[in-house]
């Protein structure tokens, strides 16, 4: 007496096979290995981004695209950036992202454009009106990690890989996945004289 169990078995085997194939395809497509050590040549290449002559916007090195833009899309790098933000005292000028002596990131108003390279350049080389250069205090990889994180603070579209709140005092609403977009929807904000002089 089998009572349909044979059929049942055949179907479940077929379904399992289909699942395995679909699964394997999905896995191949979605794999996201976490790199703890970046090869020194790749790191060295990170220094070789090109910047427009006015210091706003530019192009990252080719290898950065080949790696899949790790400093903007990889959760591990973004969380490292979040850690560096505190470790290198960014909040002494930029606060929790809302700005203080330095400009705010949270409003999505980027004085030198929202591209990561611009932010990298700002951190590495410094900017007029008080932004110091960090090239002697951080490695270029750390600068990219930090830049990727800073960019998510004022992002217009939420990133899946964005960091969560820190285990620290509460200073601003935690829904920090795309705050700039919310502010942007509130209408044009114009120039920001309160955030220090424009370049």
């Amino acid at each position: 007496m089998t009572f349909g169990s044979i059929n049942d078995t055949r179907w479940s085997i077929l379904a399992t096979c289909l699942l395995v194939v679909a699964g394997a395809a999905f896995l191949g497509w979605a794999r996201e290995p976490r790199e703890l050590r970046t090869d020194p040549p790749v790191v060295a290449d990170l220094d070789r981004f090109r910047l427009m002559s006015d210091g706003i916007s530019g192009a990252p090195p080719e290898s950065y695209f080949a790696e899949g833009k790790p400093y903007e899309s990889d959760a591990y790098n973004l969380s490292q950036g979040q850690r560096l933000y505190t470790w290198f005292g960014c909040q002494s000028c930029h606060g929790d992202g809302r700005g203080n002596v330095g400009p705010s990131f949270l409003d999505g108003w980027w004085l030198y454009g929202p591209e990561t390279v611009s932010i990298v350049a700002s951190i590495r080389d410094g900017r007029p009106h008080g932004m110091p250069a960090f090239r002697d205090q951080m490695t270029i990889e750390q600068i990219w990690q930090l830049a990727g994180y800073v960019q998510t603070i004022g992002a217009y579209s939420a990133k899946v890989a964005a960091t969560g709140r820190r285990d620290d005092r509460y200073t601003r609403p935690a829904e920090n996945r795309a705050p700039a977009k919310i502010l942007f929807n509130e209408g044009p904000v114009g120039a920001h004289p309160d955030q220090g002089p424009s370049p």
Partner: protein
């Protein structure tokens, strides 16, 4: 489909055996084909799926264990890096606890409890189907995440803040927490089904003192699940909220507390051990009774021990936190309570020993696994007494001593009885016998391999080797024993491989099994192997604790049930006096849709809190579709 005679349904009283079987099959069987397979609510088909799926997860978890043993076989080995290793041990623990141990015990109950209490299907069969799909979805979520390198890497107990928003980057910890939700939903659903089945669907005459011990153990286990699992639901939800919307449950800077997680987790986590162990106790009792040819000694004492264990299980959670810095007075209390649980455990051991002594043992494979259980589990119990002592624990906590201890308890205490139970009930489930020769070999290899693998870990722990390290330095005195352990693990793996080969081979071409091959005493052996879709052509009437011992030739049965609709008997809680002929829901695809909708909601909510709002709409639709009457005979009273 059904023939109605002027509003009067057709009863089984006038029908001869052939006609009865034919009509019942028509009413109860699962249609062939994919649709039938997806919409079945037969507890036997679902239970079988559950068991097979759980064993697949066991095999996968075993592969992870072997990977870890490869990495640890030599100092500073580089087979696996720290990131992958952390995922592997987290996956191993999570998989074994949430996807193997608990589900497999419930799976056995889903299959066996309705048969053992003499009814035709589990209570809430559609919920049962739903619970399986949820379990499968949760397992797939975890394993697919692991395969794409986003497997959880925070340990199976996901201590905050390491699993919290700041230190666990990406979605890895969220996947862990949400996988918990999947398996909890499925476990809670099955627990409810079993409680109601045992309370209300027992065969007429099966009063409380005639319930088989396995059913008792599953009843107590189900209550443990019902009381313990909400704690982990609250904990894992709080973790996801902390990570996703920035609540502060575990953030000490804003009034949260790191130890709150540990309290909540272990308030669930310790009963979890008994959720795994108590069903095994029931299996041991069943196998001992059958293979010593006498009832288990001290039925009442055994039941009381089960209940006492269940109650005490909630008073021990702090012994997982002895080194977290809690007040000493509290720790002393938990030392006493943790030691005290050895008393009901000891009582059960003594009762089994008395049964073996008084009975006439027959050394078949299931019984061999029970003997292996006695040898190994008592060691696990002894080391359990050791770690219950606070000062002792401060030296062995989070070392390989504890790894050894809980493998002795969980593998020795649960997997050995489970393997015995598979050998024991395999003929009932498949209609075929497993090989006695291969079974003995499998037992020998697993028993030897297990002890050689895990016993040296006690010593490693006392030599100072901590848990969850991906490697160790050559100057530490651990490399010899680790190599020995890794080699022994190969023996253990070979034993399991042999078991799997035997199971697959026997399922395909084993010798056909009679209805009661072991001459056992409980009701599942009163029907054919495998049982028909309706389990019993006429529901049995029970007059003693061992119905088939007393009269192995004829089965007293009840009649008067309808054959037009799926019908079974509802009986009273204590005396099991028949109260109603109740219908049992028919096949439905809606549990699958509901599970899919819930899966979408739960996975989506890892990414945005709004998923809870939008995702609940399809869930509601699916649930309404599930419960809306379809005008079938089962829907009407």
């Amino acid at each position: 489909m059904t023939t109605r005679h002027e509003g009067e349904d057709l009863r089984d009283r006038g029908l001869d055996e052939m006609e009865l079987d034919r009509r019942l099959s028509q009413t109860w069987s699962t249609p062939a084909g994919l649709w039938g397979a997806l919409s079945t609510v037969d507890h036997k088909i679902i239970g079988r799926r559950y068991i097979v799926t759980a064993f697949v997860f066991l095999a996968l978890g075993g592969i992870l264990a072997m990977a870890m043993r490869l990495q640890l076989s030599q100092p500073e080995a580089r087979f696996i890096g720290p990131d992958r290793y952390n995922q592997i041990f987290t996956m191993h623990g999570t998989n074994m606890m949430f996807l193997f141990a608990v589900p497999v015990m419930e799976a056995m109950a889903v299959y066996l409890v309705p048969l053992m209490v003499g009814t035709r299907n589990i209570a809430f069969p559609r919920l049962n189907a739903f619970s399986y799909w949820m379990y499968l979805a949760g397992g797939l979520l975890l394993w697919i995440a692991f395969a794409v390198d986003t497997g959880p890497d925070v340990g199976w107990f996901a201590y905050v803040p390491l699993a919290g928003p700041q230190y666990a980057a990406g979605k890895r910890a969220d996947i862990w927490a949400q996988m918990i939700t999947f398996t909890e939903v499925s476990a809670l659903a099955v627990a409810v089904e079993i409680v109601v089945t045992v309370f209300k669907q027992r065969a007429p005459g099966m009063s409380l003192d005639r319930i088989p011990l396995f059913v008792w153990s599953m009843l107590v286990t189900s209550f443990l699940i019902i009381m313990a699992m909400p704690a982990i639901m609250i904990a894992s939800s709080a973790l996801i909220l902390d990570r996703l919307v920035g609540t502060h449950f575990f953030n000490p800077a804003e009034g949260g507390d790191v130890l709150l997680w540990q309290h909540l987790f272990w308030f669930f986590g310790h009963p979890e051990v008994y959720i795994i162990f108590l069903p095994a106790v029931g299996m041991v009792s069943t196998i001992v009774a059958t293979f010593t040819r006498r009832p288990v000694f001290g039925y009442l004492a055994m039941v009381m021990a089960l209940i006492a264990t269940g109650v005490l299980a909630f008073g021990l959670w702090v012994h997982h936190m002895f080194v977290a810095g809690l007040p000493r007075l509290g720790e002393s209390f938990f030392t006493a309570s943790s030691m005290a649980i050895a008393i009901p455990a000891g009582l059960q051991i003594f009762c089994w020993l008395a049964t073996m002594w008084a009975g006439r043992p027959v050394f078949k494979t299931p019984f061999l696994f029970v003997i292996g259980f006695m040898v190994i589990f008592v060691i696990g119990g002894m080391t359990g007494v050791m770690v219950a002592s606070v000062p002792f624990d401060t030296q062995v906590h989070d070392t390989y001593f504890v790894v050894a201890h809980f493998h002795y308890v969980l593998v020795g205490g649960a997997v050995f009885p489970l393997l015995g139970a598979i050998y024991y009930w395999f003929p009932k489930i498949t209609g075929r016998m497993m090989s006695e020769t291969l079974g003995r070999w499998a037992f020998g290899l697993i028993f030897t391999g297990f002890n050689l693998t895990f016993f040296p870990m006690h010593i490693l722990g006392l030599q100072g080797m901590p848990r969850r390290i991906y490697t160790y330095q050559p100057e530490m005195p651990w490399s010899g024993l680790n190599m020995f352990v890794s080699l022994s693990a190969v023996i253990l793996a070979a034993g399991f491989l042999l078991f799997f080969i035997d199971a697959i081979r026997s399922a395909v071409s084993g010798t056909a099994a009679p209805a009661n091959p072991w001459e056992a005493s409980t009701l599942e052996w009163a029907t054919s192997s495998p049982p028909p879709p309706y389990n019993f052509a006429r529901l049995p009437v029970v007059g003693s604790l061992e119905p088939l011992f007393n009269n192995p030739e004829t089965l007293p049965v009840a009649s008067g049930l309808s054959v037009d609709r799926r019908e079974l008997i509802v009986s009273s809680v204590v005396e099991a006096l028949p109260e109603a002929r109740e219908s049992s829901p028919g096949n439905s695809i809606w549990p699958l849709w509901s599970a899919l909708a819930t899966t979408v909601l739960l996975i989506w909510s890892i990414f945005t809190p709004w998923a809870v709002v939008w995702g609940s709409i399809p869930v509601s639709i699916a649930l309404i579709g599930w419960f809306w009457p379809k005008g079938t005979p089962e829907d009407d009273a």
